[in-house]
């Protein structure tokens, strides 16, 4: 038999080992997507259905010809396209971990040198690919079916997308923590939490349209400020830096809290031996 030696891992720098592991994890999830055609629906069909639904609603509202109706029409289409930035980034990360629990693969991964941060990096890396696919489909669908050019909103979109991306990651870390602590029964939260966030964030309307009691809660969410900044772009008023600053600080705080929560849940996972749920 041939005598072969693995290249000693110690000869690689920590950074290059981390990058190699992150790419390996991203590739593992690429196989899952490519070999489970129904999962392609998440980044092709469902975004298209959303753009058709909200685009048609926008077209209907816009037929009244009034200024508020025309505004609402733009809010609906821009809102749903940007909402998918949160949705896709959150779902891609959360289902990354859920996939390991569904297939009882957690132990296989946890005994390797893979660090938690490298795993998250790998899943986020592939999540970005899914995000580009899913949001790309929506941008093209909005342009093809409703002549709504998302790019016409300009570079002011960049900070809004970045903030929404961070919020999506923060929510996914929270969901991952809950799954580690409570098992796959908590997976309903991966989807459910988005349905709570959607109306409260004023994705399609200013939050003053919400019931008065809900408005303070809405204002506490970074997403609310990000979508307010988006409406400023739709109304051709340029970037609203005040709202963007509040949203950026809020989203980073949310990310920090979610990371702390995930680390605490991971510690509880190891302490209480919850790995036996998945072996």
């Amino acid at each position: 038999m041939t005598q072969l030696r693995a290249e000693p891992a110690s000869t690689m720098t920590t950074g290059s080992k981390s990058w190699l592991r992150m790419r390996a994890i991203a590739k593992r999830h690429a196989y899952v997507l490519v070999r489970s055609p129904h999962r392609l629906f998440d980044v092709t069909l469902w975004p298209l259905v959303d753009v058709l639904l909200f685009g048609s609603l926008a077209a209907f509202v816009g037929t009244s010809g009034t200024t508020p109706a025309a505004k609402a029409s733009g809010y609906l289409l821009a809102g749903i396209v940007l909402w998918h930035v949160i949705y896709q980034s959150q779902i891609a990360m959360s289902t990354g971990l859920l996939e390991e629990t569904w297939t009882r693969n957690l132990l296989n991964l946890m005994v390797t040198p893979l660090r938690e941060i490298e795993y998250l990096g790998g899943v986020a890396l592939f999540g970005m690919v899914k995000l580009v696919m899913g949001v790309g489909v929506m941008v093209l669908g909005a342009l093809a079916f409703f002549s709504f050019d998302t790019w016409s909103l300009g570079f002011g979109l960049v900070p809004i997308v970045a903030i929404l991306l961070v919020v999506g990651w923060a929510i996914s870390l929270l969901v991952m923590g809950l799954v580690l602590r409570f098992g796959t029964g908590a997976e309903a939260l991966a989807w459910g939490v988005m349905f709570v966030l959607l109306p409260l964030s004023g994705v399609f309307y200013p939050t003053k349209a919400l019931p008065t009691a809900m408005q303070p809660l809405a204002l506490a969410l970074p997403t609310t400020h990000a979508f307010t900044a988006l409406r400023s772009l739709v109304d051709h008023r340029g970037s609203d830096w005040n709202q963007l600053t509040i949203a950026a600080v809020g989203s980073l705080a949310m990310l920090g809290l979610s990371m702390w929560f995930l680390v605490a849940m991971l510690r509880a996972f190891r302490k209480r031996g919850y790995i036996t749920r998945y072996t």
Binding site: M1, T2, Q3, L4, R5, A6, E7, A9, S10, M12, K17, L20, R21, R23, A24, I25, K27, R28, Y31, V32, R35, S36, T103, R104, N105, L107, N108, L109, M110, V111, T112, P113, L114, R115, R267, R270, K271, R272, G273, I275, T279
Partner: protein
């Protein structure tokens, strides 16, 4: 190679591991034995860093597991008969994934050598779902040995294997340990496995080590002809409550 001291683990209703000290030296082949519920798997999971001990510490290749888990894990390979292969991947893709997780940039030559060692090169292109449970176990062992670990940990490696495949596994493990000086720590309910592969056995009962020595020494200290007799004696003691005294020879 492995130095675990004073390991204690309490679960909600019972103490699973109760003060286990376990040292495995380079190249040593050790079996961790005992009836169901004796604490074998919990001990292994603590050694692997997946479950944190309530008390005690583990060091692997000089790395403290509590603070340098990733570095310690680079020295260890783990496979278990009950673990599935990662789904939706071909065998070579699966082995490449784990090779890269262990820091191997180009794992293909090692994959070929590993598959050849267990005479399953023909499975390289198969999907994980197309394999029998025995074939999956073999692939799992190839994965665990791909990076030439200094410590190989196996939980029930031959549990679902036909006798001929089990023999192939035993031969492959002996070959690996002989060539690379890999230390082996394995659990098994098959005492013939243990007698053929391991030079040292450790019996656990009620989370404690009750015997530690060569198979012949341990069997004779219990007045039994072989390890199966010791196992049965301990299993009977395990079933009757409050019988920890009888666990000892």
């Amino acid at each position: 190679m492995l130095d675990a001291r004073g390991l204690v683990k309490d679960y909600r209703r019972n103490r699973a591991v109760d003060g286990v000290d376990l040292v495995v030296r380079a190249g040593e082949r050790v079996a961790l034995l005992g009836p169901n519920g004796a604490g074998k798997t919990t001990t292994l999971l603590m050694i692997l860093g997946v479950v944190s001990p309530d008390e005690g510490a583990v060091s692997i290749c000089g790395f403290d597991l509590a603070h340098q888990r990733s570095r310690a894990a680079e020295c260890v390979g783990f496979a278990a008969g009950y673990l599935p292969l990662t789904e939706r991947m071909r065998v070579r893709e699966y082995l490449r994934l784990y090779g890269q997780l262990y820091g191997i940039v180009e794992p293909n030559p090692l994959i070929d050598a590993g598959l050849e060692r267990f005479r399953i090169s023909d499975l390289a292109g198969a999907m994980g779902t197309e394999l029998s449970s025995g074939q999956r176990t073999l692939i799992g062992i190839v994965r665990a040995t791909l990076h030439r670990p200094r410590l190989l940990v196996l939980d029930e490696p031959t549990a679902s294997l036909d006798p001929d495949v089990a023999q192939r596994v035993r031969a492959g493990l002996l070959d690996l340990c002989g060539r690379d000086g890999t230390a082996l720590l394995m659990t098994s309910h098959d005492m013939s496995d243990v007698e053929q592969v391991c030079e040292r056995v450790i019996f656990l009962s009620h989370g404690r080590i009750v015997a530690d020595g060569s198979p012949a020494t341990v069997a004779s200290s219990y007045g039994r002809g072989d390890l199966a007799g010791v196992f049965l004696h301990l299993a009977e003691g395990h079933e009757s409550s409050g019988s920890q005294q009888s666990d000892h020879p």
